[in-house]
Every structure is written in structure tokens, then in C-alpha cells.
Symmetry: C2
Subunit: 730 residues, 2 copies
């Protein structure tokens, strides 16, 4: 009976999908505007489609190789099931990305057309297209994970968490490539088009003469729509998985979750697995309800309208979760209502970090104004101030994150009613719930974020199609807000990544410790041949070695992705310069002379596909290699990547966002306005910030999760190797 | 008898001091040049003296407050002795800094004068003045630490490591202020003088009309001479201390170091304490011998000559240490010769990281050439490429460092002859020895580094005194090499900081665990009231919380110090602009019109003193507060600071060095040479790199060590609090 409850989750996921379909049909029914607008939108659609198809082609090869390796290398007889889960996770992530992209690249011209009538309509089109993506991301994630969980966690006499881990690994690896590839694509086009167009040729942004503009617009979609969607899809699946895996481990360990009522579970144990699914299901319903709160006809209130959507959704979600926890407490034997505290701590931390990100990146606040002021003394001071702001902006989010972790831990502990050993386990389960709490409103976060590139594209189309300036003003109002919400979504993405990775790390450690204990029992006790144990204490030099290598990874990833953008942008610069030089009449704007936009799209596509491979493969291979060497090194490595990666990602995202808005602030007329020396300095800062905030920062985000989930999936292999081949030298 | 051996260390330290005195007298006897040169040098001396005196005045207040707190807050009856050790550590660090600065600010004009006759003489004066500083730093460190160790570790029936820890904390806190203050001073002056002089007014570097030039020259001395000296003095003392403290802990723990032959020590135990002192003593003698290898008359071979000095010294040091280890093995009962492997691993890692730093920052190599090439497409690409290079440059040093740690651990384990429990302890002692091995040649490293600012100043004086261009060419040849050696010294400083902090961290953990065990015994076993234990495992959420806060610290420190430079440089810019505007005839170079250099010196001095306080105090207070909360959080924090700080420091130092040399490379005529667009972009990169490499990077360096040694000193307090006030909520 209680197990049947789990089916509520896929059912709600289907409701989410149905609503997403309704939104998509609604968006596609809107007027796509005149022929020229449709043609421009068509070019963007074509570019986006071509890139995603090319990307998926490389990913198929990667996915098949990894699936075969999983099927072959994983001991325990579940290799092929894990491989299958891996493939479904990957496929659902791809489908979510493709649908979001499909709608977004068609919503752009419809938003422009709606803007000819007013802001309210334009906001509705843009936001609903974003929410299509948001709901698809969350619903597909929940649907896939819930089905695997129902078959291999909830109903089985012998739950097999490793198989379900495979699903998240699939979502994770696809997300990594989507984020890195998308990030390189968008910034190669953006940096290249800006440097030659705005700086060298002196033509405005989004000018139809610039051959790089279509690639830039495509990039917004593949980076911020498909990339961000895959990123949060992965966090969402990971956050769902972690508490379930922890609950299974606790059921095996003779806690109040153990029993015989439901396979190996007590009623509380079964509920501990089902509840995360129900929390997420409640979140999806709340997101649908919250949608109706986003509505305004006043350009200055768009931001408030979007915020209102987020707050309403969060409040409804919290009410659902509280009711579920009260229900749990009333049927079970634990003080389960404390778990509401864990979930609320995570959700509140997500909102708080979003607000902090806004403080550091909004041009209404002091930090960005200081960067704008520093631009007066030149480029160098603009850069120094931007870097310093980015670094400083890590402090408060780090404190919020650790406070949320500590609160979730303490709330979880209260469930144990004073038993110290149990308290730690419930506390850790509580940390898993806090990650889930933060991500329960994922659909809205993705929706608000995916709205940004649609608004941005809408403005580009208005400019290129030569629509009257008041239309562009309306789309600009939407776009400006989109920039802030994008920064907030990045803050949310990285903190959810850190919390999810932490929860997955604890699952990793729990599974590993269980394996070590089983091996030691089988060998006849500690000290016997074949017996081994974990030593994750900070005084084990191998752990420290792992932490240092882990802390190095974000720098390595940052260097690789920044270098990739720099190389690709350089190719773009050479091509755009060539076209301006060789295509006669292009720069003069002669009638009928058109740039070869396809050449630029090809450059971005090829560069992104080539450059995403090394970082992507390294992120999967390095943890496996370290784990084969020694699991203690690997554990240290995961914590190093988590801590340092979280901070690097916040640093890079916020520095980039702050530079961007410092430029925008000057463009409102401050410090001499457009064309002043301060503006020139700010443009340089913005260009440096582009790969910071849209390529490297987000890539590090995913790195944190990928290395952790890969390690989790390969636990059975590490156990078979007795804790790693170096283990015997310890 | 064996205990008497320890007296060799202070004796060798006195030999080092005597030789330093001989070098100083020799330098001061050289011809100081004409009246104008002497006047300029006099201004630099006066500025440097004024800054150090003002700095010491603030530090006295700080030191007295901390000493009183130590005497009062530390339980166990050794508070006042620890306070005394703290003060001597601080005073010796101050004395070393002052002597080095005294000689360096007098050697500058003498180097210029010697350059009128040829390169060989100029190199000799500059290098010998640097070596004066190097020998004073190492000898005073060894002298002070050896005496405290002889009284409270070697000869005592009850060794009191906490007291000796105080000495290192004294050196450490002074070093922090010297590094942060010196770094802010030098870069405020440098950035300000360059931006107004070179960029705005278009006058050359070191032009006598620029009122900021004297402050810039003073800054080279207070930053690179006094600051770097204090930094390595502290690493040196810390690296000496760590293996001794570990050996004492092992003697208390019933290992082969325990016995009754010498107080609580066996012969091997006593030797394990005395040997680090002898290794260091051998290093000082080797540095004196290696001095004679640095000699050349060919401007293109200066670098080779300096390298030769380092290699010869390293080789002699290794021979000494090998002989000592062989001697130890022959009189003791252990395979002590393996300890040579630990020491050699550290020394080799130091040399390797130095070479890697050179690769990433020398303009003869690919990375810097790529930055120079990227400058052609503008400032933004120069900055992106520089940041990417800095990030990438962390990978290889991190790998070298962890390999050295692992090798030292494995070599140390071999001493245990197969006993697993003992093997870990010997392995950890081996890691302590590897830090000492890396630092055994400190005198030469400091010498090579301190030579840089002397050569730089010599060039400035030649320019300002209007000497013929061939003199400036010779000093430039010295200076160019000095830039590379300074970068190498920075790589060395940060890797030695990481290794030292790691060794001190292990001592911290060992002392804490002993305290917990004693408390638990006294309480009547685990579980009893008053019993507590450490839980440093990575699955303790408090440990993770600590790691995240720790990883945040380098970002926080980076932000504070970059912000400080930015604010101070702004004041400097305003003042220099004012003088150019208000002092009639100054910019035109009218005879008899002189800038008010003192006003600029005052700005740098005041800014440095004000801005160094917050970071300095936070670095001391935060670990104490975290430890009072919970020692597990503190332990995680220390590892987080260590891992992330090491990487941030390498990243910032190398990015800065690479930008600097990319500019110099373009100035040799590449990519259009001086005055080209590429050069303008490279100048911006260099300016951004200034606070990176000379303020923030080095400050983070010290941060790593200060937080660790402060935690070590306060261990008795944390033990008294039962592992922290939160401990009971665990």
C-alpha cells in the first residue's frame, strides 16, 4: 500500500509534461511575425538544431562506450542494468534539452511580435516558453528516476541502488558535455562578434551586417537554454537520488528504517524512500500553480513579477512538504516532522544565495557601481575591481551554504531521539533532503533562466528586422531583467550542485564503507587477508593528497574552458574580419548584400564539439583512475573538487555578471556613458567576464557533480579491488 | 652526549650570522657612487626605514596583546613561556627583516656604481647583499628555534612542544603583517606611479619627475626583501618545528622513539629531534659554500650563475643529510637511512616547482609568448589568456607536491620494518622531514630573491641620476634575471608553505588526539562524561563545513588585499596627478624643480599600515573561534585553506609573472614592440598582475601557515574545552 504511493511521483511528472505540452502548443500558436523575422528565427532554429544534432552524434559514441564499460566493468551482476539506467538518464536529458531548445528558438520571434502590442504579452510568451523547458526538465527527471526507483528501490526485496545511480550518471555526463559545449559555443560567437563588430567596425550589437550575430543568438539558446537545463536536470536527479540511497543504506544497517514489513524496510524506511519522490512531485505541482503569479503590464515590474512566481512556488512547495512530513509522522514511529526543517533549510538557502548573487551582480547595488567607478581610471582598475568583487562575493554564499548544511544536519539528528549513532545517520539523511528542498522548485528556476535568452533573441530579431525602436525598448526591458535572473539562476545552480554533490558524496562513502565491512566479515575479521577498511580521516596523507588534486581540478577546468573560448573566438574574429574585407558592400549596408552567417555557425559548432571532449572525458576518467588507485585518495579528491569548485564557480559567475552589469550601468549614462573611456574599459571587463560566467563557471558546476556520481556508480568496482590497488601499501 | 649534538645547530647558525656580517661589511665598503646617487639611495633608505618603524610600532601593540592572551588563555601552566617564545619568534623575524632591508637599501647605489665597471662586480654586490638577508633569515630562525628546542624538547624530562610552537607563531604573525603590508605598499606605489607616469603623462619608468618613483623603489624593498624574508623565515621555522613535535608525540606513544635512555626518549627518539636541527645546520653551511659558485662576467650568463649557486648548494646539502642519516642508522636501531629519501623528495620538489614556475613565467617559453600573441587582439584576450595560463600553471606544481608528499610518506614507512601502525607514524614524520628538506636551502632562495629588488633599485638609480645608457643596460640585464628568479622564489615559497602547513597540521592533529585520549582516560573511558574523541573523517558534516569555509578564505584574502591595493593606488593616482598639475615646471623637467616624493611615501605607508590590520587579525582570530566551536570544523578548515590556498597562490603568482614578462617580451620588439596596440594591452595585463603576484598571492601563502600554527598553539585551550563547545551536539 505505502509502496503504491511512489506511483504518485511519475503521475505528477506526467501532469507536468502535459502542462508543458499545453504551454508549448500555446507558444507555437502565437503570431510569429513578418517574413523577415521568421527568416531570422529560422536561421537561429537551423543553427541550434544543427549544433544539437552534431553534439548528440558525438555523445552517442561516448554513451555507448561508457555503457559497455559499465556493463563489463561493474561486478555484482547488475552491470547491464546500470548501463541501461545510464542510457535512459542520458536520453531523457537529451530529450529535455531538445524540447526546450525547440520551443525557445521559436518563441523568440513570437515574443518580438507580441512586443509590438505591449510588454504583458511579450512577457507571457517568453516566460511560458521558459516554463515549458523548466517543466520538461523537472518532469522528465522525476519520471525517469521514479520509475527506476520504484523497480529497484521501493518494491525490491533486495534494493539495488547502484542501478539507479546509473540513471543520474547518464544525466550527469550529458549535462557536462551540454554545458561545456554550449558554453564554448556561445562565448566564442559572442566574444568574436563583439570584438570585431562593436569594437573594431563600430557597428551596434545585433547589427544584421555582422556575420557572427546569428551564431551569437544560437549560442544563447544552446548555452543558457539547453546547457542550463541539462545542468539543473542533473542536480535534480542527483538530489532526488541521494536521500533514497542513504535510506536504503540505513535500512541495511539495522536502524529504524530496517524491518520486514516491506521487503527489507520498516514502514518508516519505505516512507524514507518514497518521500523524496513525493516532495519532488509536490514541487512540480507548485511550479504549475506558481506560473499564474507571473503577470504584469508594467515594464518596471517584470522583475517583481518573476520574483513573485518564485516566492509563490516556494511557499506552496513548503506547504506540500510540511503536510507530507506531518503525514509521515502520524503513520510512522519517528519524529519525522523534523525532516521538514532539513528541506526548508535547503530551499531557504537557495533563495538566499539567489538574493546574494543579485546583490553582487545587479547595477542597483554598490559592488557593481564600484566597478563602474573604477572603470574611470582605466581597464586595469576595472579588471582588478571585478576580480576582487568576484572573490569577495564567495564569502556570504559559502556561509549560507554551510549554515544550511549544519541546520539540516541538526534537524535530521532530532529524529533520532537522543541516540548518538543514529543521530549522525539521520542527520546525513537530512542533508540529502536539504539538497532536494533546494531543488524542489527547479522547474521555476529553469523557467526564469530560460526566459532570458528568449528575451535576448527577441531583441536581436527586432534589431535585425529593423522594427521601430519602441519594440526594441520593450524587449530590452525584458532582457535587462533576464540578465539578473540568469545571474541568480547561476548562483542557484552552483549552490544546488554543491549540496547535491555533498549528499551524493555521503552516499558514496556509505556504500563504500558497507562494502569494506562485508569484505572484512567475509575474510574473517579485521587484519585477515582480504579485509580492508576506509580511512577517510584528514590525518591520512592519501586523503590530503586527494583533496589537493581535487582542489586543483576547478583551476584545470577553468584553464581548459577559458583557453577553448579564446581559441574559438580567435577563429571567429579572423572569419568575421575576412567577410568584412572580402564581401563588397557588406559593411556599407548595401541592399541585398548579406553576410555568410553559416560560416560563423560552423566555426562555433566545430570548436564546441572539439573542445568539449577533453574536459568531458577527463571528468569521467580521473575519478575512476583515482578510485582504482585508492578509495581514500578518491574521497579526498571529491571533497576537494566540491569545496574549491563551489567557490571558483561562484567567483567566476559573479565576477562575470558584475562586469556585464557595470558596462550596462555605464550605458545608462553614468561615468560618461556610451563611448566614454570608462565605457571602453567596461567593455573589456565584460568581454573577460563572458567566458567566466557562461563557460568556465558553469562547467565547474557540473564537474563537481559528475566526479561524485561517477565515483558513486563505480563503488562496486572499487569494493571488488579491495579499496584500490594502492590500498595494500597503506 | 647525543643531546649535546643539538648545540651544533646554534653554533652553525652563529657561523651563518658571522658570514652574513662579513658580507654586509663587504657590501657597505663598496663605493656608493656620486652625490646624486647617494641622495637617491638615501631617500629610499629613509622611506624604507620610516615604513618599517611605523609597521613595528603597530606590531608591538598587536604582539603584546597576543602575548598577554597566550599567557592568560593557555591552560597547563606554560602560557607565559609560550608567550615569551612567541615574542622572541616575532623579534627575531623583525630583526632579520630590518637587517636585510638595511643592507639592500644601501647595496642599490653600490650596485649601480659597480655596474659602471662591468657586470661581474655589479652581480657580486647585488647577490652578496641578497645573501646577507638570506643567511640572516635562516640563521636567526635556526638559532632561536634551536635554543627553545634544546631547553624544552631535547633536554627536558617532560618535553613541552607547545612552548616551542609559540616561537613559530611569533615568526608567523610578524610575517603575515610584513607580507600583507609590504605587498600593499609596493603595489599601491607601483600601480599608481605607472598609471599616471607611464600611461597618462607618457614619461618613462623610474623617471625622476615622477613623484611616485621613490615610493615604488622603497616598495620593492619592503615587499620583496623584508616581506619575502619574513615569509621564508616563517616557513623555515615551521618546517624545523614540525618533525620535532611529531617525534616528541611518537616518544609519548610507545614507539621505538620512546625510552628511558634520555628522559622520555630512546636514542632514536632523541636523534629524531636533534636531526632536523642538524639538517638545517648543514643547509646553512652548504649555502655559504654555494655562494662561491655564483660568479660571471657575461651578462647572458647571470641566470646560469644563479642557478649554479642553487644546484651546488642543494647538492652539498643532500650530501650532508645523507651522511647524517647514515650516521643515525649506524648508532640507532632503525633503518633511518630511508629518512634521507623523505628529505630528498622535498628538496627535489622545491627545485622542480621552481623550474615549472620558470616555464610558465619566462618569456623564452610558450605560455608567455601566447599571452603576448593574444595581446594583438586586444586587452580582453590578453587578460583571458593570462588568467587561463595562471590556472593551468597550478596543475603540474600540484602533482609534484602530492608526489613528493606520497614519496616522503612511503620512504618514512620503510623505517617501520613492516609494522602497519608504526608505518603510518614514521610516514608522517617523513612528510615533516620533506618540508625541512625543501627549506634546508632557504638562505640561497632568499638570497636569489632579495637580489632582484637590489638590481631593480640599481637600475632606477641609474635612470634617475642620469647615468649613461650602457650602465642602465647592465643593471637591466641583472634586473631581467631578477624578475624570473623572483617568480621562481614565489613558486618555492608557496610550495614550502603548503608542505610546512601540512607537517604542522599533522602535529596539530597528533597533539589534539593525545589530548582527547588523555581526557577520555581521565573520565574513565569512552562514553563517560568528559570523554571525547576526534572525528576527522570526511563523512563528518562538520569536517566538510570546515573544508568549505577554509577553501573560502583564500578568496576572501584575495579580495581584501586586491581591494586594498586598488584603494591605495587610487589615492596615489590622485596625489601624483595633483603634483603634475600644481608643481610648476615639474613635468617639463625644469632645473631645480623637484617632486614631493615624501607625500607619496606617506600615502603608501599609511595605506599599508591601515589595510594590513583586518586580514592580519582575521587570520589569527578565525581559527581560534572555529576551534572553540569545534575542533573538527577547525581541522577541516585548515585542510581547506591549505589545498585551496596553495592553488590560488600559485595561480595568482604565475598569472602575474606571466603578464609581466609578456609585456617585457613585447618590449623586446615582438608584436610591434613598445608603443604598439599589443604593448598597450600588455601593460594593462601587467598592471592587473601586479597585485596578483606581489600582494594577494604571497599573502595567501602566509595565511596557509598562520592559521595552522595558531591552531597548533591553541591546542591546549581546545583540549580544555573538550574539543570545542559544539562538541556535545555532535
Amino acid at each position: 500500500m505505502a509502496g503504491m504511493l511512489a506511483w504518485v511521483a511519475p503521475a505528477c511528472a506526467l501532469i507536468g509534461l502535459a502542462f508543458a505540452a499545453y504551454l508549448a502548443v500555446w507558444v507555437l500558436k502565437q503570431d510569429p511575425g513578418n517574413e523577415k523575422m521568421q527568416k531570422l528565427s529560422g536561421l537561429i532554429q537551423k543553427g541550434g538544431h544543427a549544433f544539437l544534432m552534431a553534439e548528440y552524434k558525438s555523445l552517442i559514441i561516448f554513451a555507448v562506450i561508457v555503457a559497455i564499460l559499465l556493463a563489463v566493468a561493474l561486478p555484482g551482476g547488475h552491470g547491464w542494468q546500470t548501463a541501461l539506467a545510464f542510457l535512459t538518464g542520458g536520453i531523457l536529458s537529451v530529450v529535455a534539452g531538445y524540447i526546450g531548445m525547440y520551443v525557445a528558438t521559436r518563441a523568440n520571434t513570437r515574443t518580438t511580435q507580441a512586443a509590438t502590442k505591449g510588454i504583458a504579452g511579450a512577457l507571457r510568451v517568453a516566460y511560458r516558453s521558459g516554463m515549458t523547458m523548466g517543466l520538461v526538465v523537472a518532469s522528465l527527471g522525476l519520471f525517469g528516476l521514479a520509475l527506476w526507483a520504484i523497480f529497484f528501490l521501493v518494491n525490491a526485496q533486495h534494493p539495488e541502488p547502484e542501478i539507479v545511480d546509473g540513471f543520474v550518471m547518464g544525466a550527469s555526463s550529458i549535462a557536462l558535455f551540454a554545458r561545456v559545449g554550449g558554453g564554448i559555443y556561445t562565448k566564442a560567437a559572442d566574444v568574436g562578434a563583439d570584438l570585431v563588430g562593436k569594437v573594431e567596425a563600430g557597428i551596434p550589437e545585433d547589427d544584421p551586417r555582422n556575420p557572427g550575430v546569428i551564431a551569437d543568438n544560437v549560442g544563447d539558446n544552446v548555452g543558457d537554454v539547453a546547457g542550463m537545463g541539462a545542468d539543473l536536470n542533473e542536480s535534480y536527479a542527483g538530489a532526488l537520488l541521494a536521500p533514497m540511497v542513504l535510506a536504503v543504506a540505513m535500512a541495511f544497517a539495522g536502524t529504524p528504517f530496517s524491518g520486514t514489513e516491506f521487503g527489507v524496510f520498516s514502514l518508516d524506511g519505505l516512507l524514507a524512500i518514497v518521500m523524496p519522490l513525493l516532495f519532488a512531485a509536490g514541487g512540480i505541482i507548485a511550479c504549475i500553480l506558481g506560473l499564474f503569479a507571473v503577470n504584469t503590464n508594467d515594464g518596471s515590474k517584470i522583475h517583481k513579477a518573476l520574483d513573485r512566481g518564485t516566492y509563490v512556488t516556494s511557499a506552496i512547495t513548503l506547504v506540500f512538504i510540511l503536510l507530507l512530513c506531518i503525514g509521515w509522522q502520524s503513520v510512522g514511529h519517528l519524529n519525522s516532522v523534523w525532516f521538514f526543517g532539513c528541506t526548508a533549510a535547503g530551499l531557504a538557502a537557495g533563495l538566499a544565495i539567489g538574493k546574494l548573487t543579485e546583490y553582487y551582480t545587479s547595477y542597483h547595488k554598490k559592488p557593481v557601481k564600484k566597478i563602474a567607478l573604477a572603470s574611470e581610471s582605466g581597464t586595469a582598475t576595472n579588471i582588478i575591481e571585478g576580480l576582487a568583487t568576484g572573490m569577495l562575493s564567495t564569502v556570504a554564499p559559502a556561509v549560507v551554504l554551510v549554515v544550511a548544511v549544519a541546520l539540516a544536519y541538526l534537524c535530521g539528528m532530532q529524529v533520532a531521539d537522543g541516540n548518538a549513532e543514529l543521530a549522525m545517520q539521520f542527520g546525513v539523511y537530512g542533508i540529502g533532503l536539504s539538497a532536494l528542498g533546494m531543488l524542489s522548485t527547479t522547474a521555476v528556476t529553469v523557467g526564469v533562466d530560460a526566459y532570458g535568452p528568449v528575451a535576448d533573441n527577441a531583441g536581436g530579431i527586432a534589431e535585425m528586422a529593423g522594427l521601430p525602436p519602441e519594440i526594441r525598448e520593450r524587449t530590452d526591458a525584458l532582457d535587462t531583467v533576464g540578465n539578473t535572473t540568469a545571474a541568480v539562476a547561476k548562483g542557484f545552480a552552483v549552490s544546488s550542485a554543491a549540496l547535491t554533490a555533498l549528499a551524493l558524496f555521503v552516499s558514496f562513502k556509505t556504500n563504500l564503507a558497507a562494502g569494506a565491512a562485508a569484505a572484512t566479515d567475509a575474510a574473517g575479521g579485521a587484519g585477515a587477508a582480504g579485509a580492508w577498511s576506509l580511512n577517510l580521516s584528514l590525518d591520512n596523507p592519501y586523503v590530503i593528497v586527494g583533496v589537493i588534486i581535487g582542489a586543483m581540478m576547478p583551476f584545470f577546468f577553468g584553464a581548459m574552458t577559458m583557453g577553448a573560448v579564446s581559441r574559438a573566438a580567435n577563429k571567429m574574429i579572423i572569419e568575421i574580419r575576412r567577410q568584412f574585407r572580402e564581401i563588397k558592400g557588406l559593411l556599407e549596408g548595401k541592399e541585398g548584400v548579406e553576410p555568410d552567417t553559416e560560416a560563423c555557425v560552423t566555426i562555433s559548432t566545430k570548436a564546441a564539439l572539439r573542445e568539449m571532449l577533453t574536459p568531458g572525458i577527463l571528468a569521467v576518467v580521473i575519478p575512476v583512475v583515482l578510485g582504482i588507485l585508492d578509495v581514500n585518495i578518491l574521497a579526498g579528491f571529491l571533497v576537494g573538487v566540491l569545496a574549491c569548485g563551489f567557490l571558483m564557480s561562484v567567483y567566476m559567475a559573479n565576477a562575470g555578471g558584475a562586469w556585464d552589469n557595470a558596462k550596462k550601468y555605464i550605458e545608462t549614462g553614468a561615468h560618461g556613458g556610451k563611448g566614454s573611456e570608462a565605457h571602453k574599459a567596461a567593455v573589456v571587463g565584460d568581454t573577460v567576464g563572458d567566458p567566466f560566467k557562461d563557460t568556465s563557471g558553469p562547467s565547474i558546476n557540473i564537474l563537481i557533480k559528475v566526479v561524485t556520481v561517477v565515483s558513486l556508480v563505480f563503488v562496486p568496482l572499487f569494493i571488488q579491488l579491495g579499496g584500490g590497488v594502492l590500498h595494500n601499501f597503506l
